[in-house]
């Protein structure tokens, strides 16, 4: 009793005048918040995680959720979260695990950057009338082309590296089968295939049912090497080596045994119920030279037919690291910012380790340009891309394309409750429980994800047109089309943007 119980996080109330006792809340809540007894819906608010499944399913809008209905004595230093973390650790002595991305209220640089538009002197372009070139190629570009002319035809003599062709610079990042359900992966796979873009498999192997979409899948090789064999490598359109992740830079991952069901076990190639442990480092990579060896081993295994990407978490020294990666034969570097999501990460890492993707992309782009090797690799930005404006801004800061993760899950119903680690996702996304997975219909969910990509692509072309730009290549690294609004001088120097009005 020393600590006692902490206040409920959410208070559920049911409007009994509205409630028609249909029981949908009872059926839909996997956290057992609701029960129907003696002709009345009873609730246990303490179990609620605010996933909103009940709200979405209630036909009478009879349910209401209030966050933090009990006040602690307010204090700017000893926030509710700080106090509750201490109670938790005082009880357990353990590392706190949390879901989703960084939950600290750090200022978001994207929100302090504004985009440009044409007025008078340089007419804007109407995307309805004029072609807008959003097609993006990811991979090495030759620094020069050797050509030969013969009978009026030009023959390219330089041997070109394989590139991925994207119809829109928006891809969906690596969320493994295991972290998310097969229905969620299938929905994303259909959406990216239709949109002419790509998705990542995560470190969970490639389920057989997704083979029809393999030309739109980037297969991941991470430190656990789960699901990796030559068949898997040959199926992918590209291969991505995961060194780090924005949500938990510097540490490995553990898929708890309870999530390793028959099918997950099959694609990861590990026994049912065993923990899938990805060590912190790849144990064959202890240096940039070793990374080069892994990149080349993957290329050699697939006969140099596939681009190889390297993903790192955005950290203090990203620029120098990326410059090393650019010399390793890698074709693209993925920079995952500290707002990147995750199924489960130690809270202390999720909230405190890494840097924002805006600053990381800008500094990596600048470093590569200063060394004359920007053409050696493409840059993919991920971690906290919430809307098309973020896509436009991060491309203007130097990225070639983006990975979105959480936004795609939200398009499938995710309410960002951040309870992915429980494995009970009522939306059928971050769960392997068959009855919950069945709630996600890939037919509908793939359309939702496809719609989101389409809508953002439209907005992106409108933003470009308004700025008088008709090709994504003219937006890339074009910091002149950005201005900093109330950003301090040192950050603007890193981003290489001028303040508003200048």
């Amino acid at each position: 009793m020393t600590i006692g119980s902490v206040p409920v996080k959410f208070r559920i109330s049911v409007d009994h005048d509205q409630c028609m006792l249909c029981g949908r809340c009872v059926e839909n809540c996997p956290y057992d918040v609701f029960r129907l007894e003696n002709g009345k819906i009873h609730v246990n608010s303490r179990k609620c995680v605010a996933c909103h499944r009940c709200i979405a399913m209630c036909p009478r809008d009879a349910i209401n959720i209030r966050e933090r209905p009990v006040d602690y004595r307010s204090h700017p230093v000893w926030t509710t979260e700080t106090r509750e973390a201490i109670y938790n650790q005082a009880r357990t002595g353990k590392i706190i695990l949390a879901g989703m991305g960084n939950a600290k209220p750090y200022p978001i640089i994207f929100d302090s950057l504004v985009l440009d538009a044409c007025q008078v002197t340089n007419p804007s372009i109407d995307p309805l009338r004029e072609p807008m070139e959003l097609r993006t190629y990811l991979g090495k570009k030759p620094s020069r082309l050797e050509t030969r002319q013969r009978d009026g035809d030009v023959e390219v003599l330089t041997s070109l590296s394989p590139n991925l062709q994207l119809e829109t610079p928006i891809m969906i990042g690596h969320m493994s089968y295991g972290a998310i359900s097969l229905n969620a992966q299938a929905s994303i796979a259909r959406a990216v295939s239709d949109a002419g873009t790509f998705m990542g498999t995560g470190e969970g192997g490639l389920h057989q049912s997704l083979y029809p979409y393999q030309d739109h899948m980037i297969v991941q090789v991470a430190s656990g090497r789960f699901g990796v064999d030559i068949n898997y490598l040959e199926r992918g359109a590209a291969i991505e080596i995961k060194i780090g992740q924005g949500a938990k830079p510097g540490i490995g991952g553990h898929l708890p045994g309870e999530k390793v069901c028959e099918d997950v076990s099959c694609t990861r190639m590990i026994p049912v119920g065993s923990d899938a442990i990805s060590p912190a480092p790849h144990h064959d990579i202890y240096s940039i030279e070793d990374l080069k060896q892994l990149v080349r081993s993957l290329k050699e295994a697939t006969e140099w037919k596939k681009p190889v990407f390297v993903k790192i978490a955005a950290v203090h020294n990203s620029a120098a690291i990326a410059a090393g990666i650019a010399r390793s034969a890698a074709d693209a570097v993925v920079i995952d910012g500290f707002r990147g999501g995750t199924g489960a990460a130690p809270r202390v890492f999720r909230d405190h380790v890494g840097i924002p993707v805006e600053a990381a992309i800008a500094s990596v782009d600048a470093k590569l340009r200063s060394q004359g090797i920007r053409n050696e690799v493409s840059l993919i930005a991920s971690g906290g891309i919430r809307e098309s404006a973020d896509v436009a801004k991060v491309i203007a800061l130097g990225a070639d394309a983006v990975y979105i993760g959480t936004a795609a899950l939200v398009a499938m119903g995710c309410r960002v409750c951040g309870t992915c680690y429980r494995g009970l996702c009522p939306w059928g996304i971050a769960t392997q429980r068959p009855d919950l997975v069945a709630r996600l219909d890939p037919e509908i969910a793939s359309r939702n994800v496809g719609n989101l990509i389409h809508a953002w692509t439209l907005e992106l072309s409108e933003l470009m047109g308004a700025a008088g730009i008709n090709s994504i290549e003219s937006l890339r690294g074009n910091r002149d089309r950005l201005r900093g609004y109330l950003l301090d001088e040192s950050i603007m120097k890193v981003l290489d943007v001028r303040p508003v009005g200048a």
Binding site: S265, I270, Q293, A301
Partner: protein, 256 residues
Amino acid sequence: MSDQWGPDAVMDRVRIDATGMHYTPLNMAIRAAVAEGAREIEIDHVMGQRFIADGLKGDVRLIIHGVPGGDLGMFMSGPTCIVHGNCDHAPGNTMDSGLIVIHGSAGDAVAHSMRGGKVFVRDSIGYRGGIHMKQYRDKRPILVLGGNFRAFLGEYMAGGLILALGPPPDSPIRERGIGSGIHGGRIIVRGDVDDEYLGVGAQKSPLTREERDEISPLIREFATYFRRDPDVLLEDSYVQIRPSSSRPFASKYTWE
């Protein structure tokens, strides 16, 4: 070995001179030979070429003379590599199936993340041997070594078997961190291992008669490859190192 084998001498036997060859053309030559039906490919003058047989599939036997560079047989699925010489680091890295026999020693991370097949090393290996080997259904990777091993043997091991036959007790360098983070599979060491060398999550136990019987065929196989007397090895005592839990990290975390 007979010197009359030229590239065209016998259809299913090919000989490649790797002198001064970069690994990519070497692997291309190997793949081309396999595609044309070669069953045995003998490679001479190998000097540090990496990635030999990387991702190679099929039923083919590579006889390698010299010292291959890192990642020999990485992602390999099916072939056999017989190496007459030492190996650099990580032979058998993420190997799927097949056989690697090394008549010499090998560097660090031998059999890293190996998923199936067998690796036999006549002499010693470096650090992190058999790290994160894993098994699934009929695939069970096996690493057998005749000499010493350095620290972190079988670290993060998730499945399979490491059999260290080094002669006890004087010669093997028994170093710290054996089976650190092990959550599946077994490490069997000839002689005994001091408790102080065991890694976190590893525990030591004697072998039962059935378990001894299980390793006998591997000892005989090792003895055949390297012309050793199996009886000495078969009669000696062994100790095994297994995970104390299949969930070594389960108690480390609490939910937010």
